[in-house]
């Protein structure tokens, strides 16, 4: 069945709600109007106002409500719309949600899923376009998930909701209409496993979300020049799947990472550090990070397009790396 990412996410929510009465959905305008990005459309009609909740514009209260209800055994799915707004409830996410299990000495599970829309390319400018997943990398206690296609969106969201730990679930706002195959009876997908999308010999390209399509496009073009690229979709930002990526690098001896984020404190920097430590002898050259510029996200079309990495920048990086 061909569905959009939006449809896959909507179905994952519906299936989780149908399967477990402890699951509920909460966020701004997620009920009566199906969400700003229309991911929760129809859920109110199907599951009723006892399962699907609209809230005031109060992100701290939304996340706190999720935490407190999870402490009481529920399984909340909270939406905070644009991932940039994670900043207004950052304390709840990083100082409370991420640490409660630990500070209590393991007295409690905390099965909270927080969904949010990250990413640029839509002319939403500096406060509505960020890849906020990078804000959470130094916070032990959080799992970070970032799917790039309908099947992963479905499977990972099911897994996130079923997970006993807090999961931040990032949906790229530019990909909601992207289409792909979804099985008739799709299964959850394990959090923490990257996916090899295209096998290759000469270099490993690891990308996430919108950059995956760019990586595949670049691989296609490089193949015409006889360069064989292995493309890996990261899928989970924390914990990183060092095994899959390391094994690939051991074969290709070259690593390129692609992200629509600046380099500082990013998952790419984290991954480079780990792979260099684990697979140093396999590397024929320094890993290359194809990243966004070290600036906020600009509004204007040409500026934003140039800010974002694309297939061209990946092709150049690969050529630079392999012809060095």
């Amino acid at each position: 069945m061909i569905v959009t990412v939006r449809e896959a996410l909507n179905r994952a929510l519906a299936d989780s709600l149908a399967q477990d009465d402890d699951v509920f959905v909460i966020g701004e305008d997620v009920a009566a109007n199906g969400g700003v990005f229309k991911i929760t459309e129809g859920l109110l009609e199907r599951f009723g106002p006892e399962r699907i909740y609209d809230t005031p514009i109060s992100e701290q209260a939304i996340i706190g409500c999720a935490i407190g209800s999870a402490l009481s055994g529920l399984r909340p799915v909270a939406e905070i719309m644009f991932a940039d707004f994670a900043a207004v409830c950052f304390d709840q996410l990083v100082n409370q949600m991420a640490k409660i299990r630990y500070m209590s000495g393991g007295q409690t599970a905390l099965p909270v899923t927080v969904r949010m829309a990250n990413g640029g390319g839509g002319a939403f400018a500096a406060q509505h376009s960020q890849t906020a997943e990078n804000w959470f990398l130094n916070i032990p206690g959080l799992k970070l998930v970032a799917p790039s296609n309908p099947a992963d969106a479905y499977g990972l969201l099911r897994a996130a909701i079923a997970d006993p730990d807090p999961v931040l679930f990032f949906e790229h706002k530019g990909m909601y209409n992207d289409k792909g195959e979804l099985a008739e009876s799709p299964e959850p997908i394990e959090i923490g496993s990257a996916a090899v999308l295209r096998p290759g010999e000469n270099a490993t390209v690891v990308a996430s979300q919108a950059m995956v399509a760019q990586a595949l496009k670049a691989a296609e073009r490089l193949a015409e020049d006889g360069i064989s690229i292995e493309v890996i979709d990261l899928r989970t930002i924390a914990p990183l799947d060092y095994a899959t990526i390391g094994a690939s690098v051991d074969r290709t001896n070259h690593l390129i990472l692609v992200q629509e984020s600046p380099v500082g404190g990013s998952w790419a920097a984290t991954l480079v550090t780990a792979i260099v430590a684990r697979n140093f002898e396999s590397l024929d050259a320094a890993p290359v990070v194809v990243a966004a510029d070290d600036t906020p996200v600009p509004f204007g079309e040409a500026m934003e397009r140039a800010w974002l990495p694309d297939a061209d920048s990946i092709v150049s990086a690969a050529e630079g790396l392999l012809r060095a």
């Binding site: 305008d29 900043a87 207004v88």
Partner: protein, 325 residues
């Protein structure tokens, strides 16, 4: 300081001036709506048709050196402060010469030169910043006042609470203007807020609060003059709830399906421009005078748009500037 900003400070607020200012904003936003529908305007576009009297009434009560902050729905307030129309269009279109040289776009119109300190995309985020503008005025003894525009829904976010408390305990010259347009996105304010009069929240901060008719520009102007003068003399902040209505959807192509039948029509009857025009007719203006104001402003706005459309996009490399000094 631009021409219109100087004008704003010195000119008597004749009805023609008020009408012109509201029409300028209305036509600006109508153009934005069309540009968006035609695919010529990218990104988010939060329009405020129907709310012009709040911005115009408050900003007309300000003097040079006063400042203003507003939201993503901030075209009206920024223009009312005197930002040049062509440069505002330029920013919407992402052009070089736009107010922010194309870096900010619709949600972040800023013109510091006229006191428009910024438009902010995170609900509530600019209330603390207005506190700072008020703080600086008091620190310097400049007598300046800051006006902070925000929506009804924003009164439920933490930054609202911290800002009003802080401004009150420090007695800062900040007028917090809540434009109660009855909705936050698609949610009626009554669904998210357990009290009816948001102005009553001022009591939590020992602050003066009042509710006004935000569609009667003279009501707005009267309240604004009174409260701005009070703040300027050290009387401290105030919370004003201006009742109004946004005639378009929340953003972009939101059709506003959540509105009860007849609500929009009722409010269109109370359109602030219509109300002022009616009043002007009653006090002796002729329909042809009004028509010619309308035509003149329409022409100016149209010309400003054409001007802005003639500007180039900034070069892609411009993105690398303005991060730091």
């Amino acid at each position: 300081m631009s021409e219109s900003s100087t004008a704003r400070a010195s000119k008597p607020s004749a009805d023609t001036d008020l009408l012109g200012a509201m029409l300028e904003i209305r036509f600006f936003e109508d153009h934005c709506h069309e540009l968006f529908s035609a695919g010529l305007l990218r990104g988010a576009t939060h329009l405020g048709q129907g709310q012009e009297a709040v911005s115009v009434g408050f900003c007309r009560a300000l003097a040079d050196g006063d400042t203003m902050t507003c939201t993503y729905r901030g075209h009206a307030a920024t223009l009312a402060m005197g930002a040049p129309i062509d440069r505002a269009f330029g920013e919407m279109l992402g052009r070089q010469g736009g107010l922010c040289d194309g870096k900010g776009g619709s949600m972040h119109l800023t013109d510091v030169a006229v006191g428009a300190l910024g438009a902010f995309g995170v609900v509530g985020a600019h209330l603390p910043i207005s506190v700072g503008a008020g703080f600086a005025a008091k620190y310097r003894g400049s007598g300046a006042v800051n006006v902070c525009f925000f929506g009804d829904g924003a009164t439920n976010i933490g930054a609202f609470h911290e800002s009003l408390n802080f401004a009150s305990i420090m007695k800062l010259p900040v007028i917090f203007v809540c434009e109660n347009n009855l909705y936050g996105e698609y949610s009626p304010i009554a669904h998210t807020t357990p009290i009816e009069r948001l102005a009553d929240r001022a009591a939590s901060y020992g602050m003066h609060g009042e509710r006004i008719d935000g569609n009667e520009v003279h009501d707005v102007l009267d309240a604004a003059r009174r409260l701005v003068a009070r703040a300027r003399e050290g009387g401290g902040p105030a919370l004003v709830e201006a009742m109004t209505y946004r005639q378009k959807g929340h953003a972009r192509s939101d059709p506003g399906a959540y509105r009860p039948a007849g609500e929009l029509e009722e409010w269109l009857e109370r359109d602030p421009i219509l109300l002022l025009e009616r009043r002007m007719l009653e006090s002796g203006s002729s329909q042809s005078e009004l028509d010619s104001i309308r035509a003149e402003v329409a022409g100016e706005v149209e010309a400003a748009l054409r001007e802005a459309q003639s500007w180039p996009e900034p070069p892609a490399d411009a993105r690398l500037q303005d991060v730091a000094a």
